[in-house]
């Protein structure tokens, strides 16, 4: 059994600079470790002088030091010099940096301290053997990031389960008309990938599925997926659409961002994958009240089965990629903009559908009007606006809502302004921004291009919108021009920010991964590992880790796929010791082993 040399521990945690760590708790813990003779906290001795250290060495007969906390290297020289002067080995000063160890809480800090006192590397003590990795992978969420990761892993010859909650894959990108900054057609990029997913022999697509439970550990996770009933036999349905034609129930279409109506038996959009119909059980008259059932009667292939039940699918996978995406900010929360009260105040997502050639108006920009049943929709007939305004930073960079920048809104607003100019060349377009964030490759050039197209880009956040005799009146401070603007326009587009999905917390709990302050899933390391999560064998891709645009989401999808493939190729993953007690035991063990 190895004896621990008399040790002095110096904690370099400044109270005001670090969240989550508590000087007192850590100091209390360290004092109880056998061998520790003296514990300082930075607050007591902000700048330890060599003569002070020397005094402590002789008083307590110290033989080595541990400097732990944040930037302990700052103090190393003083301690090494003191050690040398006392005739001890100046190298016996151990650094234990919390940030380098990637830890975020008191318990892990204790473990790091314990290992340092025992002179055992933390990473070593944390490792608890390794496990074999199953070659199958689960990808949760089939937006562009999930699709990209799925395809890359499947192309390497490994099986992928792709779970999607809705009736089709494609995610938000499928709703967009164009991508910035190249103005490529979004569907032309995405649909081939979607078709590839549908046809790939190594991909098993589970739509209407949600992760319900997770068991096991890295390398061999057992995942229960709850798959909702589709009520349509996918193998038999030929997608003729007679059922939908006859269905009497009108429901707002989620795919069109609630700007058009669909039926209760529907296909989300013409290029959906799988390209088969499904029934919305919340609105189907038969499933709700056992009345109607007309779709079943008219179906040519008799593929509708109202008795289909939800089922649980259990799969075993070695790695999991989480790519669950985002929801857009609810613009109705900011009452000053009148979203929900004024029909022609739209969110950017609604406008994406409006300008989309495959959208409710076939891409013509029209006012929102009521249909025969009184629902607010976009219809191909009707008037077009003569002036439009875009307002940036809705729900983003706002301490009343979300503190962070959503990163995509500046660029998509410029893109939407361009699309307006393309479709309505005579329309006046105004953009109100706080700061223009055109940070990516080709983005600044795109910004210049939109300015050249004659869009009036004004610096100043619009404060409120009022509706006056059919027009919308916007009040803004034109900061760079030193005046107050009272601008009347026909249509306003609110550039809503991105938010974590409502049940991101639930998924984080199921998978036992961490979330950051704003609810986005926490990456393994904020500077050099964005696609790893806080847990071994679970990767992150796309916006669920933090707001990002399509190129970045795709890149992160690829990165996550490469991490998965790395694990599969190695064939094993290391399994960490999580609890403090386990790490302590292992550290003692290692320390004894070294002595022998």
């Amino acid at each position: 059994m190895g004896e621990i040399k008399p040790t002095g521990v110096f904690l370099t945690i400044r109270k005001e600079s670090v969240n989550g760590f508590d000087n007192e708790i850590l100091a209390e813990y360290v004092r109880k470790i056998p061998g520790v003779r003296k514990v300082w906290i930075t607050e007591d001795e902000l700048n330890p002088r060599p003569e002070l250290i020397l005094k402590e060495i002789s008083q307590n007969n110290l033989k080595r030091f541990v400097l732990a906390g944040f930037e302990p290297g700052l103090y190393k020289t003083a301690f090494s010099n003191a050690m040398a002067e006392a005739g001890l080995d100046p190298k016996d000063v151990t650094m234990a940096s919390f940030s380098e160890s990637g830890i975020t809480d008191n318990e892990h800090a204790k473990a790091v301290l314990f290992c340092s006192v025992h002179d055992v590397p933390f990473a070593e003590a944390r490792r608890n053997g390794s496990a074999k990795v199953l070659p199958e992978t689960l990808v949760i969420g089939a937006g562009i990031a999930g699709i990209q990761a799925t395809l890359e892993i499947a192309d390497s010859g490994n099986k992928v389960y792709l779970v999607e909650r809705s009736g089709t894959i494609g995610g938000h990108m499928a709703m967009f008309d164009k991508t910035f900054p190249t103005l490529d057609c979004a569907a032309c990029i995405l649909t081939p990938k979607m078709v590839e997913v549908a046809q790939h022999p190594k991909i098993e697509l589970i739509t209407l599925g949600e992760v319900a439970a997770l068991r096991g550990s890295a390398g061999n996770y057992e995942v229960t997926i709850h798959q909702k009933a589709r009520y349509v036999d996918v193998t038999a349905c030929i997608g003729c659409g007679v059922c939908s034609e006859k269905c009497p129930q009108n429901v707002y279409s989620e795919f069109d961002a609630n700007t058009s109506m669909r039926k209760a038996i529907y296909i989300p959009f013409p290029q959906a994958v799988p390209n088969k119909y499904l029934i919305d059980p919340d609105h189907c008259r038969y499933l709700q009240e056992e009345k109607c059932g007309v779709c079943q009667k008219v179906c040519l292939t008799k593929c509708i089965d109202f008795n289909e039940q939800d089922k649980d699918v259990i799969i075993n996978v070695g790695n999991i990629i989480v790519a669950t995406g985002f929801k857009t900010f609810d613009a109705g929360r900011i009452s000053e903009f009148g979203y929900g009260r004024f029909p022609n105040v739209l969110t950017s997502l609604e406008f994406e559908r409006l300008v989309n050639a495959a959208g409710p108006t076939g891409g013509d920009i029209r006012f929102r009007t009521r249909d025969k049943k009184g629902n607010w929709v976009f219809k191909p007939e009707g008037d077009e606006p003569k002036s439009l305004a875009l307002i940036h930073c809705i729900g983003s960079r706002d301490r009343n809502y979300n503190d962070y920048c959503s990163r995509v809104c500046c660029m998509y607003s410029l893109k939407l302004a361009h699309l307006v100019k393309e479709k309505l060349p005579d329309a006046e377009v105004y953009e109100y921004f706080i700061d223009m964030r055109a940070f990516g490759k080709g983005y600044e050039e795109f910004y210049k291009r939109i300015q050249d197209e004659g869009v009036h880009i004004v610096r100043g956040r619009t404060a409120k919108i009022e509706q006056r005799n059919g027009h919308l009146s916007l009040r803004t401070e034109d900061i760079l021009n030193n005046r107050l603007l009272e601008q009347e326009v026909d249509m306003v587009i609110l550039a809503v920010g991105l938010e974590p999905k409502d049940d991101a917390g639930k998924l984080a709990g199921l998978l036992n991964i961490k979330q950051g302050n704003s609810g986005w899933f926490l990456e393994a390391n904020s500077s050099c590992d964005h696609s790893g999560s806080s847990k071994e064998g679970i990767m992150l891709a796309g916006v669920c880790q933090g707001p990002k645009d399509i190129p970045d989401s795709v890149a992160q999808g690829s990165a996550a796929a490469s991490k998965v493939l790395q694990n599969i190729m190695k064939g094993k993953v290391s399994i960490p010791n999580e609890g403090l007690h386990d790490i302590e035991l292992r550290a003692k063990e290692l320390s004894t082993l070294r002595e022998e």
Binding site: E336, C393, R397, D398, R399, N400, I434, D435, R459, G460, R461, T462, A463, K464, R475, T476, E477, D478, I479, N482, R483, L484, L485
Partner: protein, 383 residues
Amino acid sequence: MNYRVDPTFKTDLKKFGLQSWNDCFHCGNCTAMCPLSEDSFMFPRRAIRNMQMGLKQKLVSSIDPWLCYYCGECSDTCPRDANPGEVMMTLRRYLTSIYDWTGLSRKFYTSKAWELGAILLLGGLIVLAFAIFWPSISPELTSDGGVRINSIIPLRWVEYGDWAMAIIVAFLLLSNLFRMYIKIVHGAEAVKVPFFLYFKEAWRLIFHFSTQWSFSKCDGKKYWLWHWLLMSGYTIMFIIIVVFLPWFQTEEIYDPWHPQRLLGYYASFGLLFGLIAVIIGRLRKNKAKFKFTHVSDWLFIIMLLLTVLTGIFVHIFRLAGMPLATYYLYVAHLAILVPMIMIEVPFSKWSHLAYRPFAIYFANLKKAALKLQEKPGINFATT
């Protein structure tokens, strides 16, 4: 015009109640949200910018803080929680101390010891004066059962005291107003104002002093009404006790419908109602403008409330025929009233009764003068 940047300015403003100085990221939401902000007087964002930069000369000569009536909508909707409304409030305190040439205002705003000390000193002097010249108290009642209120001290003495106080306060306030005028109209952002405009625009002074019309545009009619009741009650009472004291403070008790009593009752009601509304608001903190209360705000409210309450009880005890209680309370009433007026009116929060209408007057002078120069689209205030 060149301006000096003063990096220590914001530290100085902290003493006047500034909460945070670097939250604002200049989105302009506050200025656009403000119901009173206009092209020629855009606030509060620009004032915040000047504050952040430490452009002291520019702030000292700006009217904007006085044009803000603090509805708090800017603070409620500010994306950065930068509290623009409170910055404007802080600047008003600061400007009050700048206009004051005696330097006392600054002392009172930045030091509790000075403010409390001055109040206690003045109050103590009043009590002392009564103690030394303690006149004969007649326990007899008047024929109608009231206390002989004027037997504690000859009414003429109180009247002389009133006039002396009024002259001192008026002198201080007018000299400070003159300094305000020089800074705003002839200061860093000077405009040449033709002489006749001073008369042409003078109606605004009276109109805005008596109605606070801008306030009604700012915050809905409810708060305006509260404030107007408070203000009108105060003004009526002030005029009665300073100018018409012999008519008001009579030994004889008139019947309740006499104008003397009606006016007194109206003024007391207005004051009490307005004060209670403000106190409830500040305790509940349900609006942005009530959230942060500087020491000077509370002191003023409390002193005014005590003045009103002692005044009301003097009246009640007098009617009830309780001589001793009346006399003691009368001394207390004066001991609170005198420091309240002497300190709050020229040096502290109450000075806004003069600065606000004059600010509107000066603002309109500048606007009208610029209009005469016929240079549309040019703003004299530049960022």
